[in-house]
């Protein structure tokens, strides 16, 4: 029987980092989930011009809303995976019983979801924006607003994912719970790009989006942790 | 009291449909809610009676 003393204690950050790293490693081992969200965004965004005709002026007018709504929907599609696979194989319980506060654990889960589903959108959205002949200034603002916006979407979405854990048929249910809460993020995010397209300075909208993000950073992990505890009872 | 006759009152200055529509819907919804509740409590009382005997 091995009697060697265990080597070294792990501090809070290294434990949390391992939770984040493990989530990303597991997701990358099963690429299909991650890329599905990414391709959904590209395909869905390209559908709109097919529906509305290719008049450049019309496209660029509706581009902010189209890109933002499809980004929001693709973020939401992958929400149910945030906790459900860990819930099913029992690792969620083990993680909750680790020596870290639940709120920080939840934050790591949210960051993992954001890195896998939100961040890729930030890079691909400007490319798709070219289809809608957005100017380079607008594309920059689009990327910046999505950078902040997708994190807020993951944060708020995690509450819906945690509330509906373990319930059958959660796909649509999460959408109903979370979409009304997404509205401020959408309004300020798309608003920033709209402001840029009509020559106004987008800083007002971006700072408001930042404020919503800050509030989400404070409240979402708390609400998600409470919801997880309820789900695991 | 500025209504001089009943049908002037009913006409509501030409907005009859909108005004009476709004009032009708408001009190209709309230009545519907009360009716639903009455049915629900009857169902409970009935279920409990069965369970008791």
């Amino acid at each position: 029987m091995p009697k060697t003393k265990l080597t070294q204690e792990l501090g809070t950050f290294s434990v949390l980092y391992r939770i984040l790293a493990r989530d990303i490693k597991v997701a990358l081992r099963r690429q299909s989930d991650v890329t599905a969200v990414f391709f959904f965004f590209i395909i869905a965004a390209s559908l709109f011009p097919l529906g509305s005709g290719a008049d450049p002026k019309l496209l660029s007018a509706m581009a902010p809303s189209v890109l933002w709504v499809t980004a929001l929907l693709s973020c939401m599609l992958s929400l149910s995976r945030m906790y459900s696979s860990d819930y099913a194989d029992g690792t969620l319980e083990q993680i909750m019983l680790s020596n870290q506060p639940t709120v920080l654990i939840v934050l790591m889960k949210i960051l993992a979801h954001w890195v896998l589903s939100g961040l890729p959108l930030v890079f691909v959205a400007p490319l798709i924006g070219l289809q809608f002949n957005l100017s380079s200034a607008e594309l920059q603002i689009l990327a910046v607003s999505l950078l902040m916006g997708t994190l807020a979407l993951s944060l708020i979405g995690s509450i819906g994912a945690a509330l509906t854990l373990g319930i059958r048929g959660t796909g649509v249910l999460i959408a109903i719970l979370v979409l009304p809460l997404y509205i401020p993020v959408l309004v300020f995010g798309a608003g920033a790009v709209n402001a840029a397209s009509i020559g106004m300075s987008p800083n007002g909208a971006l700072s408001l989006l930042g404020a919503v993000l800050a509030m989400a950073l404070v409240f979402a992990p708390l609400a998600s942790a409470a919801a997880l505890k309820i789900a695991l009872e | 009291m500025q209504w001089h006759s009943v049908n002037e009152f009913l006409a509501m200055g030409g907005y009859a449909f909108y005004v009476w529509g709004s009032f009708g819907i408001t009190f209709g919804c309230m009545a519907f809610e009360l009716w639903l509740l009455k049915k629900r409590s009857q169902r409970i009382a009935q279920a409990v009676k069965q369970e008791a005997f």
């Binding site: 081992r29 909750m96 009872e233 | -």
Partner: protein
């Protein structure tokens, strides 16, 4: 490994457990000090799992308090989790990760970093030498169970809450686990467990608690 030098005590006072609208157990009291194994008996559905999850703090009791070293575990939260090792019905391992990665991660959760060969040593002892680098979904049910149990040999936590640890284990693994439980109890650990197999354990204090339908 005298890490259990300090004495621990787990007290349940007036616990009430409810599932849905059904009362499972009421006015349940026990006090477990170092070196005790509490063996929970009862048919399926009598609330054994709910009681175990209440003891390890995953679910809140309907009424009553679980007390660890004099403090209500509800207020202790993570402080209490530092001392608890819970193995439930679910394997608690990630199917896409290898046995080694799973073991290292579950140790990391309790703040311990272990070297690869320490982990391999335990996994080999449990007969998992062949499947070390395979994703655990390739392993059989019994092998997955052993990967989940491997951390019992590595973690130094004073309180074990085991929900039917012997299920799906073959004879060899069962005797290995029995020896480990006895060794742990003799070193001063506290174990609360349920099992369907008749198991005789020679441990300092052996208590039984029956939950009937």
């Amino acid at each position: 490994m005298g890490f259990l030098a300090s004495n621990h005590v787990l007290i349940a006072d007036n616990l009430v457990g409810v599932r849905g609208e059904r009362l499972l157990f009421e006015k349940l009291n026990f006090e477990l000090s170092n070196g005790t194994v509490l063996y929970l008996q009862g048919a399926n559905g009598t609330g054994k799992t709910t009681l175990l999850r209440t003891i390890c703090g995953l679910s809140k009791p309907y009424a009553g308090v679980v007390n660890w070293c004099g403090e209500d575990i509800n207020s202790l939260a993570e402080e209490y989790f530092k001392h608890v090792l819970y193995i439930g019905h679910l394997p608690g391992i990630k199917e896409d990760l290898t046995a080694l990665e799973n073991l290292k991660f579950s140790l990391a959760l309790s703040g311990k970093a272990i070297s690869a060969n320490q982990a391999t040593e335990v996994l080999n002892m449990l007969g998992l030498a062949k499947g070390l680098n395979l994703p655990t979904r390739m392993l059989s049910q019994g092998q997955k169970r052993r990967v989940a149990l491997a951390r019992l040999w590595l973690q130094e936590l004073p309180l074990w809450v085991l929900d039917e640890p012997f299920t799906a284990l073959d004879v060899n693994a069962t005797s290995l686990l029995k020896q480990k439980i006895e060794a742990f109890a003799n070193e001063g650990g506290i174990i609360v467990m349920t099992t369907h197999q008749e198991v005789t354990l020679n441990v300092p204090k052996f208590e039984q608690l029956r939950l009937d339908a």
